[in-house]
Chain length 595, copies 2
């Protein structure tokens, strides 16, 4: 087979403006290259290598324009000044325009100077989705600093660890969550300033020289120019709250943020345009609000920020009252919002959902009661976070509802910019795309992480051939659509074979009496592990183990059938709202094995 | 005012994998930086400069994944294999899938090897919009070669000049246009191969050792691997057919193509997604088919290629029969198609239009007779080519039809990735965005050209501060929406003031009896220049000079009124279908001046 890579060439190609390499005497002598091809007038022409007989490949002649967040900022400032930002809070809705936001964001750059934050200092945030948080999202990276979003739902020890690990110099904190942060400030060694953003409520503000008020600082500051030149410099950090080991920091660059913004904006992803009103329910304090905090302004879409008003009724009211066209959040959010939204008039065109597998029954309930199914997206902190979506391929346009629902329940097709493969855990061989073979999902692309920030020994994110390990177990169909089988650590290993806890959960949750279900592996002397189903029954309903098993039997292989069903009050959740299987596993670690 | 740029720093930041700079003895000694921040294990840590006291800024930790066309190719190959390509031709419609296209494109890479094309050799094409042309669009750059689209409508001397200037090694030519190319082949000094793509008809194929058949070569070749690693290497070339001087070559890079593809795909541009069926009428032989040849496959949209079937009736039939949802072409195309499309059922959601100003009357006629107005886009070969569009900002959603029509007649809002300004021709000062001040439109961004390829002496594209000069005269409104006033060279200078020929043409063309109108400046002893209106009357209609002037008078300032109206049979067009004002100016150079 012929191969068509570039031929070996003479050292590195000179970059525009850099000196051209010294002449090497070649048998055929120098080959003239146009001045526009890298040589400056008066400098040597590029040459034919005596060794390879080749010349460096021709270069594009486009502008060296860096992909930076301040360029996105300017785009919003210049063209979408009349776009609106509505932020909900205990005292009602605060309204602003992108023009006002932009002026404040430039002032906020001045505040960071006033506070003496280092040139690439980490700027911590501890707050809800709000206009002020959006000011920080742009002011920190646009002045060369690094935005570091702290997850308000983490345990105190984790917060201390993360702030120290990232070396945060300042934390901007919403008044409504100040009591969660303030007791920890003395444990955060590098934090010199705490800036309180007053989002309502009456939490006491400590009388301490480190504490200042956001609006006061802003009023006193002068707006600054933004001009970041290196697209590969750090723009922001986000720590993953893994269930084992210390939290791990992902460092996004300006380039990766720019490209992820474009990726999220595309019609095969969230399809954000100037006609939209977007409401990110997914928090800005974790996983970048799935890129919506950058992509909505970049598209000129107006924003609705729920602030601390995260109750299902409040979210449903915002969707209806503010004319929201696109929103996104984790499954548990939409589970709660459904009864408050069903039957009401709205302008929604898409409801994005991810973070954990979207139960098919939930999506179908939305289709029936709200008029549109849920749009599943897949990704993780390490993929910025959005990497694929379940936008329905045209091949299923005329399919029956059953087929469409099955397609929508998939993580779906990777976006342009993300490549995916599945790799066998033991042989490390890429697996066929037949929707049956499973393996670890691995990805690569310009918004996939290469390394963690200063990781603990032994923590390795990338494979030797440059792919990112996701820790998810998946299959891919012949069109490369991803079906997540499970997290690697949540798979149940029974008799040398793997059982997908997610598949079992989806099957159980399709029972009308079931509110939530989580399946975990419990130790078994003969089979190694066996599945245990933990089921939460809907209010006012009662259910027997036999009902669950009868419902499951026609849907799964016999050896996948759970050995037992435990009825629990609720499934424990992680700080970001995912099922905490770790907690369930330890709770049922001593569960008596059955034959 | 505080400024917030990055501080001076110690030389260049090391790239990942490059050696860290040697230690410089600093007063404060070395500052440890994590290994994940650029240092390899065992190498020196980064250091505090004794001079600046700073350390290099923190870097992102995302993958070094190049933005290359072969990555777009893989995305299409892996995920959209069942998408279709329909190519029209004299013998009917040929149908294929992206899966078949991808396999053929890999084979075509093998053909380029077989023909001995250099590692970065220029691969000329001379043909219509077709599947084969799309194979060339991806195979040439994905093997490191440089695609060079030759405009089949150029004059013979221009074609010879361009092929020699670019040093084309091969030309792939459609059989239907072979008679235009073959007589020139001996004048193209570097062309060693002519590959005929048989798109129908019975043009004679020369018996010459340089000539081979596309399908025969493809059948004999083996598919190749694609792997381009440098996103700044050249991917394709396109020459602008200026009205003065030699044609000038623009060299697109892989990176610029990738980013333009994302830009065109966004909802504020053409909004291409997997649900679309796209038909580029704008030719692939000039200005990249406005990016649709890359963006439609990249989005998984199916393609309809008109081939040589460019007659208005044939285009209208393709739109209706093939369920086209998005199409794009120059105004004269849509002028011709209108009567054939009016009143027929269709699935169009947008009709893109550009290349020259879209007459408002044409857009309104489409709104009334086809059900949707025309979507104007602006750009030029030097901007890849699409830079802005008239997608209606939400602020006009509830405006009256008149206001909406006026907004749609603008070049509109630059895309994310393109920055624009207007600069006074004499003072070189940026002008205010008040929609009144005019000046040269200048742009910058990752898909704007920096230089021409080996330009003639004195041809300069960029300003000293790094903006690209467009040669268009424009105003911008307070939201940065662009209104093109004229090409610099088409402005009419009268008594020291400028008159926009485009504004006059639009006003005249809104008369129901007028088919086309072009206004040019003719010499005047007192006023320097005065406008002359050249009007083409619709078939079956008659018109007097007085009717034209009476129609115009309430619409424009008194001193803008043309001194005379000439009725002509048709407006001469350039090779790409634009009004050739140069021809009109020379025809009327001796026009008698009036007082």
């Amino acid at each position: 087979m012929l191969t068509a890579g570039l031929p070996p060439r003479l050292g590195a190609v000179p970059r525009r403006g850099e000196p051209v390499p010294a002449l090497v005497a070649g048998a055929s002598g120098p080959t003239p290259r146009p001045a526009s091809q890298g040589g400056s007038p008066g400098q040597s022409v590029w040459i034919v290598s005596a060794v390879t007989g080749t010349i460096p490949p021709m270069r594009g002649l486009m502008q060296d324009y860096p992909l930076t967040i301040d360029a996105i900022f300017r785009h919003v400032e210049q063209h979408y000044g009349d776009g609106t930002i509505a932020t909900a809070g205990p005292g009602g809705i605060t309204r602003s325009t992108y023009a006002e936001w932009a002026e404040r964001t430039r002032r906020l750059g001045g505040v960071l100077d006033t506070l003496g934050i280092s040139a690439d200092g980490r700027v911590g945030t501890f707050g809800w989705n709000s206009q002020r948080h959006l000011e920080l999202y742009f002011a920190a990276p646009s002045t060369g600093r690094v935005l570091h979003t702290l997850n308000i739902r983490l345990f105190p020890e984790q917060l201390t660890y993360i702030a120290n690990h990232a070396e945060d110099e300042v934390v901007f904190v919403d008044r409504t969550v100040l009591p969660l942060l303030w007791p920890l400030v003395d444990t955060m060694k590098t934090v010199r300033h705490v800036v309180v953003m007053d989002d309502g409520g009456d939490n006491e503000i400590p009388d301490d020289p480190r504490v200042s008020d956001y609006e006061t600082l802003l009023a006193e500051a002068s707006p600054v120019d933004f001009h970041v030149t290196d697209e590969n410099s750090a723009a922001s950090m986000c720590y993953t709250s893994g269930t084992t080991g210390n939290p791990k920091g992902v460092v996004y660059s300006h380039r990766s943020t720019w490209l992820h913004t474009m990726g999220v904006m595309a019609p095969n992803a969230f399809g954000l345009g100037i006609q939209d009103v977007a409401m990110p329910v997914v928090p800005m304090f974790h996983a970048n609000a799935w890129g919506i905090a950058q992509a909505a302004p970049a598209a000129g879409a107006s924003l609705v920020m729920p602030g601390s008003m995260m109750q299902p009724q409040a979210l449903a009211d915002l969707i209806v009252d503010e004319g929201v066209t696109f929103t996104a959040g984790v499954p548990t959010i939409w589970q709660g919002v459904l009864p408050h939204l069903a039957g009401r008039p709205h302008k929604l065109r898409d409801i994005g959902c991810g973070g954990s597998a979207v139960p098919r029954a939930l999506s179908e309930a939305y289709r029936e009661q709200v008029g549109l199914p849920i749009l599943q997206a897949w990704g993780m902190t390490e993929t910025h976070p959005v990497a694929s979506s379940g936008v329905l391929p045209r091949r299923y346009a005329d399919a029956d509802d059953e087929t469409k629902a099955a397609q929508r329940a998939r993580a779906g097709t990777p976006f342009l910019g993300v490549e995916a493969r599945i790799v066998d855990a033991e042989t490390l061989e890429p697996q066929p795309w037949d929707d049956e073979a499973t393996g670890e999902l691995q990805v690569r692309g310009p918004w996939c992480a290469q390394d963690y920030y200063n990781p603990d020994a032994g923590v390795v994110l990338s494979t030797e051939d440059g792919w990112m390990r996701t820790g998810d177990v998946a299959a891919m169909d012949p069109y490369g659509s991803i079906r997540i089988a499970d997290r690697t650590k949540d798979l149940i290993k029974s008799g040398g074979e793997w059982i997908s806890s997610v598949d079992l959960e989806n099957a159980i949750m399709s029972h009308p009496k079931v509110k939530e279900a989580a399946v975990v592996g419990v130790p078994h002397p003969k089979w190694d592990e066996r599945p245990l189903a933990c089921v939460v029954v809907k209010e006012g309903e009662t259910m027997t183990e036999q009902e669950v098993l009868d419902h499951l039997r026609p849907q799964v292989a016999k050896w996948w059938m759970p050995d037992a069903v435990e009825f629990i009050d609720e499934v424990p959740k992680t700080s970001v709202g995912k099922f905490s299987k770790k907690d369930l596993r330890s709770r049922f670690a001593e569960f008596p094995a059955r034959d």
